[in-house]
Structures are given as C-alpha cells and as structure tokens.
C-alpha cells in the first residue's frame, strides 16, 4: 500500500497531522497564507462526522473553538499575522480558563497587512506576549512537511496534557511548498486523549483544583457536572474571585505548569552538530537554508552544524546553553530582526559570540546569505 505517501503542501501536512491527532472541530476565517487549512478541513471533517464552520471573523473563530473544546472535542483554528492579532483576546481567555486548543499561524510579512503572499518569521514574540497579562504559552514550529505533521500531532497532545492553547508557528514557505509526506500508521505516534474526571455524579467536582501531578481532569459540557468557566480570576469551582491569595496561586499555576516542564516540552533537531565550532540556530523554512549551508561546509571540512528549534516557547534555555557551550560563534538564522537571537543571547554563556544572519525583505534567506556572514565571522572576508 502506498496511499499513505503523499505529495502535499505544508498546510496540507498540518491538516493530515490534525486529523491523525483526532481533530473533530475547526472554526476559521479566510486569510493568506493559511487558507488551505480551512479549505481542506471543510471537506475532510464532515467525512468523519466532525464539524467545520467558517465564522464571521477571526475573533469569533477563536471563541468558537474554545466553546467546542468544552464539549469534549479536539479543536483547531488557523490564521496568519493580522488574524493572529485578532485572536489574542480569546487566546488569553483559553490560557486563563485552561482550555485545550491548537492555533496555527502561517506567518507572512508584517506588521499590519504587511505582505500576505510572502514569507516572514516576525510573529515569534507575538506568540509569546501577544495577549495581555502574565502567562505561559507553548509554541512549536517545523521546517519540513514530515515535521509539520509530527509537531501538529504533538500540539494536540500538549494542549490536552497541559490544558492550554498551543500555537503552531509555521511560515509561508513551509505552508505553500510541496514535498513528500508519509502518513504514519495508526498508533505509530501516541495520542493524548482528554483527561476526564472520575468524580461521580452528585459528588462536588472542582474543575480548577489541580491533581498532585498538576493536571486538571475535565468534565464535558452536557455531562453530569455543571460548573462555571470564566476569564476572570477564579476559585477551584471556576467562580470569579478577587481574593489576593486565589489570584496569586492561579497565576503561579498557569505559568508553572508550563515553565516547570520546559524539559519535556522542548523539541529540537541536530544537524552536523557533532564537534561543531560554528553553530547555526534556526527554525522553520530558514532552517532549510541553514542545513544546506552546513552540509556544504562540512563537505569542505569546516565544523559547521545546525541546532534546529522545533519548540520556541517556552524557550529551551538550558538546552541551547548546553549545545552552544563549546562553539566559537553562534549564528541565529531567522527572517525577522532578531527575535530568537535575543533569547539566545540571554541564555548562552558569552553573548558576544552570538550573531544574527537574517533577511527581512520577505524573501527566503539563502545559504549564500548565511555563508556571507559566516565568512566574516571567520575573518575570511566576504
């Protein structure tokens, strides 16, 4: 059988990953370059009895998936920069009310309407701090379609594990490029299902009282336990509270459940990293150019390697510090003005050895672009 081998766009790989993970509800609004996700799911979801709805705007799409998650479904929405800005309000709600959901942002040029049909990686910090108030967030990314598939499955798993929104930060090149995708057999990648409460009918259920392991079992709307969900600070029953201790404890819980688990959330790949003197840190489509360049340099005997990030938030500080410890120079390759570079500078032992190889004209960064900077750092001229 070869029908599990496909030649698809990145957006389609994301859809296949979502279906593999068990998505059964999608709400969205048309926006370039993520529209294919909505188009494909409008066909595929009803085929398996799932639901697709095109809402009146980006805000409503985000709200609708939260509502659908509360009835016990696996949910997703997809968008790009301007839509991602609009979703921030309800994204914060999902953080506060601890609703599992997946938000895809296929990044394009920004700010504002920017450059809808061209690539950028400018939403890294928006993913982290786009919604107001202290909170923690999980954001994953990928550079090729097999990885797009896998991190999409991962995103659904992490959303359920930590009861949190998970952001998939893809970019226009990965979203629209066509490439081979092999869909794994059922069961090959483990899936995390909704953790439901075992509290029986008639017994007081505390929807916001974490178990010893920090997880909060849920109860579906329409089930035996009727409780309140709110975006206000709330007590263990989900009822609004402005008690200072309740506020402090809830905020700690929201941040700690993710920040204390950086290690298990961290995802990355190493390419030619063994003994590398020059380490390129990259992610998304720019990592493809970095890997190409490193391969080329290795063939010439130069010790260049790539650390490809697949989880951006929470930022894997300890891992990056450890991997970069012996490097002569660390070059962050990205298509923005140094959003990840600042994170790398903040966590490595010597920030003066961190450089930025970027491109901000909404064209894909090339291996030559990176090589130019590398030669300068090596003192070999351009």
């Amino acid at each position: 059988m070869t029908d599990n081998i496909k030649f698809v766009q990145g957006n389609e790989a994301c859809v296949e990953g979502a279906l593999y993970a068990g998505i059964d509800f999608y709400a969205g609004y048309p926006i370039t370059p993520s529209t294919e996700v909505a188009e494909l799911l409008s066909k595929r979801l009803p085929e398996k009895g799932g639901k697709f709805i095109q809402m009146e705007d980006e805000i409503a799409s985000m709200c609708a998936i939260i509502g659908a998650s509360l009835t016990g479904h696996k949910v997703m929405t997809a968008t790009s920069g301007p839509g991602f800005s609009l979703k921030q309000e309800a994204l914060g709600y999902a953080c506060m009310a601890e609703i599992p959901c997946v938000i895809v942002n296929v990044q394009r040029g920004g700010p504002s309407t920017g450059n809808p049909t061209h690539v950028s990686q400018g939403d890294i910090n928006q993913a982290r701090w786009g919604t107001h108030g202290d909170h923690a967030i999980i954001a994953l990314t990928a550079s090729n379609h097999q990885d797009v598939f896998e991190v999409t499955v991962d995103a659904f798993n992490l959303a359920e594990t930590y009861r949190t929104p998970v952001i998939l930060l893809f970019d226009e090149v990965v979203g629209h490029m066509r490439e081979k995708l092999v869909i794994p057999e059922k069961g090959e990648i483990p899936l995390v299902d909704r953790l439901r409460t075992s509290v029986r009918k008639g017994v007081d259920y505390h929807p916001y009282l974490p178990r010893e392991d920090g997880r909060l079992p849920m109860s579906d709307f329409g089930g035996e336990h009727r409780y309140n969900v709110t975006g206000l600070f709330h007590d263990m029953w989900g009822f609004p509270s402005n008690n200072h201790q309740v506020v402090r404890e809830l905020l700690h819980h929201l941040v700690d459940k993710i920040e204390n688990n950086v290690h298990s959330i961290t995802r990355y790949k190493e390419h030619y990293l063994e003994g590398a003197e020059y380490i390129l840190i990259s992610y998304g489509s720019s990592a493809r150019s970095a890997i190409h360049m490193a391969k080329n340099r290795r063939e010439r005997g130069e010790k260049v390697g790539v650390l490809e990030l697949q989880s951006i938030w929470p930022f894997p500080e300890a891992m990056v510090r450890e991997k970069c410890a012996g490097a002569k120079a660390v070059i962050v390759v990205e298509m923005n003005m140094g959003q990840v570079m600042k994170e790398v500078k903040a966590c490595v032992d010597d920030s003066s050895k961190v450089f930025l190889a970027n491109r901000i004209d909404n064209k894909l960064i090339t291996p030559t672009n990176i090589k130019t900077l590398l030669r300068m750092i090596q003192g070999r001229g351009v």
Binding site: E47, I53, M55, G67, T71, G222, E224, Y227, V229, G231
Partner: protein, 289 residues
Amino acid sequence: MAIKDYIRQRYFPQMWCPGCGHGIILNALLRAVDEMGLDKNNIVMTSGIGCSARISGYVDFHSLHTLHGRALAFATGVKLSKPELTLLVPMGDGDALAIGGNHFIHAARRNIDMTAIVMNNRIYGMTGGQYSPLSGPGKKATTAPYTTIDNDFDVVKLSIAAGASFVARSTAYHVLECIDILKKAIEHKGFSVVEILSQCPTHYGRKNKEGDASQMLEFQKNTTAKLGSKALEQDPTLIPRGVFVDIDAPEYCQEYDRIVERAMKGSQNQIHKFDKTLRDEANQTCPKP
C-alpha cells in the same frame, strides 16, 4: 422544582444594584426553564461581560462567562459541536450590539438554534454609566455630559433583517409575559431573539431623571403596548411588545448534519471506488485459471 433548585446559592446575594431589572429577568428565565421541565444537564448558558453577563454565574447550568461581546461566538462552538444542548445567551445591550454586533447579526443569519436574550437597560452599567448604542439621542451619560447625539437602533428590526426566525420583545415590568415569551423562544428551533427592556436606576435613571426603580418600571408599563392592541393602534409612538416573528426556517446544526451525511456517503463511495481499482488491478495481474 423550586426556583432555588436552579441557582447556585453559594454565590448569592447577587452583585446587581438594588432596583436593577436584571434579577427580575433571571427569575423569569428560571421560571420559563422550570415550566418547560428542561434537564439542567442539557442547558449551557454563555454570557459576555457586563452587569447582565454575571447572570451565568448564578444559574445551576453549565455556564460559560466569556469575553465582552463574544458570548454568541462561544455559544456557536458549543452548539455546533454538541447540538443536543440547549443554549441560553443573555447579553447586555452594549455587549450584544456594540462590541458584539457582528457576532449578533451573523448568529441570526445562520439561524443556529439558541436563545439570545438582550437585557436592554440602555447604558453601560458596570463601568459606571456610559451611553450605549441603544441609549438614543438626547440622553445623559458619564461620557455624554452634553447629552448624546448618537442614534439608537431597533433590536427587533435588526434581528428580523439579519434572519432570526423568532423575534420578540417584553419588559421587566411585564414579567409574566416575559416567562411566556421566553418559553416560546427556547422551544423555537432556530435563532431566537428576546429583547427585554430592563431598568438601571443607578446610572441611567439617575442621570436622566427617570426616578427610582418603581418609577422606571412604571415607565416601561406606560411607554409600551402589546402588538395588535388598541393602545398601540391609537398611539403608534408606544414601543410594541410581543412576538414579531416566529417562522420555521432551516436550522444551522440540522443543515450541517445533512452535510455530514453527504460527505460520509461521498467518502464511502471513494473507498468503494478505490477498493474496486485494487480488485481490478489484482484481476489484471493474476493469471486467470
């Protein structure tokens, strides 16, 4: 059951001001639910932000207190993902029709089965009395010290134009009529809008010299009239009350179920076609005896 069986007594007394009309509306809504004999486990109440929105915390249903203006968008996700649930969506006038105006008209357009209750007190009460899109011109508010120049609009006409298949209006004064209308609205299969004029003596009443709660209720009695009544015929400036629209129209979730049916049949056909191709190929490659 008694009304107290539908509330979360733990969270009482409620936070509304003395004389507020919202408590009367809550009471009418619970009586409607009680008289209909609905199962509490099947009811989801979603609300937005504002005085009106706090209603969802007090009821013993599944309750989703959401973002300002977004109650209907959340409700759409709940309903479409689990159509067997009954959705009650109480909103304030600013909540439903200013920040939530777009969600309101599109929920009506889809004719998705839920009951939108607009608790219209013509003011932003929770933030201290700013004018709302339903205040109308010539009113005083903390953001209209020289009186408002903004026009208001008619919730009933807007809802009808947007495609709601059940549209009604009542007031906090006419509480028995409210119960009756709410029962019809909840029973109706499709998007139902019930506008209930409510009073805010603390902000609207005081600023506009409309007196205390009882005087404001009296005002609701004197400035409205039943649809088809003689009073309304004689004085068309009165605000009409009653059921304006109650029609059978295709409901969104039911229509989507038909999409699912078609899509599932389609994918079954594709599988059959694929199986047939495989069989044909197998037949071609296997030497026939």
